[in-house]
Amino acid sequence: MSNFEELAEAVYQGDDEAVIMLTKSLVESGAKPMEIVSNGLLVGMDIVAPKFKSGEMFIPEVMMCARALGEGLKIVKPLLSTEDSASVSTFVMGTVKGDLHDIGKNLVVMLLESGGFNVIDIGIDVAPETFVEAIKEHKPQIVGMCALLTTTMMAMQDTIDAITEAGLRDKVKILVGGAPLYPEFAEKIGADGYCVDAVACKEMAAQMVVNK
């Protein structure tokens, strides 16, 4: 078994100690940082995502794997060249104004990171202006918004309006998701896609980047 395979397996097992050890040893042995990410760490998460979708794995297990992945990324990220970093698509993710729920958003962030996105998590209760600023600053390909309350659904509309007014609407794709949402709602407020769950979000985002 090569070290990349072992590393992928350690991520899939959610074994953060093994991930740290294997990542360090790969770095020391001279493996390219980008290879460690794409042939090791992300391969592990690639096993996790479909198993989560099919109901074979559950949220706590995914969180363990994501934690392990995070430990590996912490070691490798500072070593990535600017060229490597630039090839990674950026996703800005936040929960809209008035909404304080973070469980769904956190799961989406983990899965997106596992999908190789550079995720800028701008947190919960995020005002439309803050979304606009984040788009200006990070120049993401995709913006994700999450609302877990029926009261905050309209804040998504406000945010999309603000992005449009700032002249940025054609610069980004917008994905929305959250328990009370449904596809017609997403369409009505002018989003590019409705994500029924975190896995769907990762898949749609990956699709959008490919089709760009």
Partner: protein
């Protein structure tokens, strides 16, 4: 034990379609089934229909009341929709789900509680985010209790919802809720409780096992209200048996009556 039947909620696909297609018969059937299964209140929630919530709320309340003479739990964070439902609710004391300690929401909903002399579900949430610990929740409880009673709401009309989170992502979510119930019971013995408990099992397999156990655990500490699916007979069995074992069922009559009506399963 106060059971609020949760099935009339447009987040459920069948209800959403029935509401959009104005299928009164289906809505009435769901209301009747819940009442027959032992619900004391029927929840009415069309909150995700943000563009027509008021109109749908009026239609739902009218439609349900044509079929059943049950008190309703008007469920929306939107004060206009709450008012629209409350104005039409005509059987028993209506319930409002829910008020929180978030500034504008509290200010908008309190007048409705007073105007309709409604029972109110007070959700343990304020402007500082989602509570993690029992202590976080108690700060909200203390504040809400003070403000509600100062405005003239009786203890008996207050239903604290301790805010149940999934144990799949917050390991201590269950135990913090249990601790909160204990503290509320100690400090405010005359208020009631309400919770949507199935959140606790989100993201895990065999959710019904977790839900049933969590009902037993929370009931033991004094929880006396749940919003749930009353047609789940195993769950109803746990609730009737729980009340009996906790000495809250004179001569086990509630348990026996429910047994004869076939309301629960072993």
């Amino acid at each position: 034990m106060l059971i609020v039947g949760e099935l009339i909620n447009t987040s459920r696909k069948a209800i959403s379609e029935a509401v959009e297609g104005k299928d009164a018969q289906y809505i009435q059937q769901v209301a009747r089934e819940q009442l027959e299964a032992g619900a004391s209140y029927i929840d009415v929630n069309c909150g995700n229909k943000v563009f027509n919530e008021v109109e749908y709320m009026q239609w739902l309340v009218t439609t349900i009341q044509e079929a059943v003479q049950a008190p309703l739990c008007i469920d929306s964070p939107n004060p206009q929709a709450l008012e629209a439902g409350l104005a039409l609710a005509k059987y028993g004391t209506p319930m409002i789900n829910s008020i929180t300690d978030e500034g504008p929401r509290f200010e908008a909903i309190l007048p409705l509680v007073l105007k309709y002399k409604a029972k109110v579900v007070a959700l343990c949430m304020d402007d500082h985010g989602m509570p993690e610990t029992a202590a976080d929740r108690m700060r909200v409880v203390d504040s809400l209790y003070r403000k509600l009673t100062a405005a003239g709401v009786k203890d008996d009309d207050i239903y604290f919802d301790p805010l149940v989170k999934p144990v799949s992502s917050v390991q201590t979510a269950g135990v913090e809720v249990l601790e909160t119930i204990k503290l509320i019971k100690q400090n405010y013995p005359d208020v009631h409780f309400m919770c949507g408990l199935s959140n606790v099992s989100y993201g895990l397999p065999n959710r019904k096992v977790l839900n049933r156990l969590f009902v037993a655990q929370t009931m033991t500490l004094g929880m006396d209200g749940y919003i749930l699916n009353p047609t789940d007979k195993s769950m109803m069995g746990v609730i009737y048996a729980g009340a009996t074992l906790l000495g809250k069922d004179d001569y086990c009559m509630g348990y026996l009556k429910a047994h004869r009506k076939g309301i629960y399963e072993e």
